[in-house]
């Protein structure tokens, strides 16, 4: 876990980096999903609203949607995790983001996001 992450109750996170946000799923989610075999990411340039599904993770058992913690436009997608889903088991959150987004989200959109300690409490 990275202490500056903000998380959703559905186990996505955002991590501010310069003027952008990295968006991905937490280690807890990765562990719960089990063997992840395929990841489908959106096209660069796509706009998503908060809570909209933007990616799909296929584990051996099922397909799961990944939802946007805040609204934004996709600037970059992490092709490396598409080609090697095993990278998600890497400890470093910098390598396993799904998309980088540009966001004009207002404070209201951040209101229900959990900080590090609240999220840890949530999953315990």
């Amino acid at each position: 876990m990275n202490e500056s992450m903000l998380c959703t109750k559905t186990h996505e996170y955002i991590l501010e980096q310069d003027d952008k946000y990295l968006v991905g799923i937490t280690d807890y989610a990765i562990e719960q999903l089990g063997d992840i075999v395929f990841i489908e990411l959106p096209d660069v340039g796509t706009n998503f609203s908060k809570n909209e599904a933007f990616a799909t993770i296929e584990s051996v058992k099922a397909a799961s949607e990944v939802y946007m913690p805040i609204s934004g436009e996709v600037l970059e997608v992490n092709e490396e995790i598409v080609n090697s889903p095993e990278l998600l088991n890497d400890e470093n959150y910098d390598n396993k983001w799904f998309v980088k987004i540009k966001s004009n989200a207002d404070q209201l959109e951040f209101a229900d996001l959990l900080d590090y300690s609240d999220y840890k409490e949530e999953i315990e």
Binding site: G34, D35, V37, F38, E40, E58, V60, K61, A62, A63
Partner: protein, 366 residues
């Protein structure tokens, strides 16, 4: 309330993730589904399948009674042999698929799906009129442990099962001084056995098998890998690939239907008509031509027309691609080699119809 098998505590101690399956709290995986899958394809795995049902049919009319409720010819079954059957309704639809074992004259054991025990018993009792038989549900008295994999027979011989029963046969034997029934059957496409044991001995037997199997790298296997293994072997899953509106002919099970059975059985008229005049829908196997994964319930297209539905789909750890089973319209130009499309999240993805099973002993990867 969910039921637990007598091995429940063992699964928890082994770190299994438990899920609800057909009203039972069962291990879906202990470790990684893919690693468990490979253990069964390469060596030996052990499964708790105690949720499955055991029904005894015995009495003077056991034989004609069974001949009435399944399309198969039970006359040909000799003691200690088994046969794969379907319990059919009046329309030829499949109420359950099961294995019938002849234990002795006038006494048969039926092993049925956990999710169908109650429906099976109801249907069997409704068909009992005029037959002198007893139908006894023994499901709550027995645990079932499957040992599967290419090294399973070597392993079992080493622990004292010198003469294993032949394929689709059953035998009374002793294992670690416990009385068991050993059946040479399974749901993985590998060699192996299913061991029927009284509940009170199941924990002891489970521990002994795991301990003795260490040198074979024996692994406990959850329902997750059980599903990927059976899919590669193109073995049907009741509720996905079989249901009461699907006949054995439509399900690709014609090989199991005798063409010359004289006795009446439920659905005979429809099943014989389908054998003679053909069917409107058929089961096909397919492999995805890209990295996407088809799942149960996805639509199937051919030349831009919706022609069917995926009933089972997932990854094939042994092949390295993604596979599935689908029911499609029985079109003449749709056969092995045809390209179909699967609708996955609003996009069509190409798939090729391929022969079943997807994995045979010859083509499996090490």
């Amino acid at each position: 309330m969910t039921k637990q098998t007598f091995l429940h505590d063992k699964h928890i101690k082994l770190g299994a993730r438990m899920v609800d399956f057909a009203g039972w709290e069962m291990p879906v995986q202990y470790d990684s589904i893919i690693e468990e899958h490979k253990a069964v394809r390469n060596s030996v795995g052990i499964f708790d399948v105690s949720h499955m049902g055991e029904i005894i049919v015995k009495g003077e009319d056991a034989l004609p009674y069974l001949n009435k409720i399944v399309p198969q010819n039970i006359d040909t079954l000799i003691p200690l042999k088994a046969i794969y059957c379907q319990l059919t309704n009046k329309n030829g639809g499949i109420i359950d698929d099961l294995i019938i074992y002849k234990l002795e004259d006038y006494k048969y054991l039926l092993i049925v799906n956990a999710s169908r025990i109650d429906d099976d018993l109801n249907w069997m009792v409704r068909n009992k009129l005029g037959f002198n038989v007893d139908i006894i549900n023994e499901s709550h008295n027995y645990s079932l442990i499957a040992v599967q994999g290419p090294k399973s027979s070597e392993f079992l011989k080493e622990i004292g099962l010198i003469n294993l029963p032949f394929f689709f046969s059953i035998k009374r034997d002793e294992l670690f001084n416990i009385n068991v029934w050993i059946s040479r059957t399974g749901y993985t496409g590998e060699d192996g056995v299913e061991i029927l044991v009284k509940n009170e001995f199941s924990e002891y037997l489970w521990d002994k098998l795991l301990e003795a199997g260490k040198e074979y790298n024996i692994k406990p296997i959850g329902l997750g890998a059980r599903d990927t293994l059976r899919l590669e072997a193109a073995l049907h899953l009741y509720g996905n690939d079989l249901d009461e509106n699907t006949t054995p002919i439509e399900a690709g099970l014609s090989w199991s239907i005798p063409k010359d059975k004289n006795q009446e059985y439920n659905g005979k008229c429809i099943i014989e008509n389908q054998l003679k005049n053909g069917i409107e829908k058929k089961l096909v196997g397919f492999r995805m031509l890209d990295k996407s994964i088809a799942r149960h319930g996805y639509d199937v297209y051919f030349n831009n027309n919706k022609i069917g539905i995926v009933t089972s789909g997932g990854i094939s750890p042994s092949r390295g691609d993604n596979i599935g089973l689908a029911y499609v319209k029985n079109l003449d130009n749709l056969s092995v080699g045809s390209t179909i499309q699967i609708m996955i999240r609003d996009k069509l993805h190409d798939a090729e119809i391929v022969k079943r099973p997807f994995v045979t002993k010859r083509n499996k990867l090490k």
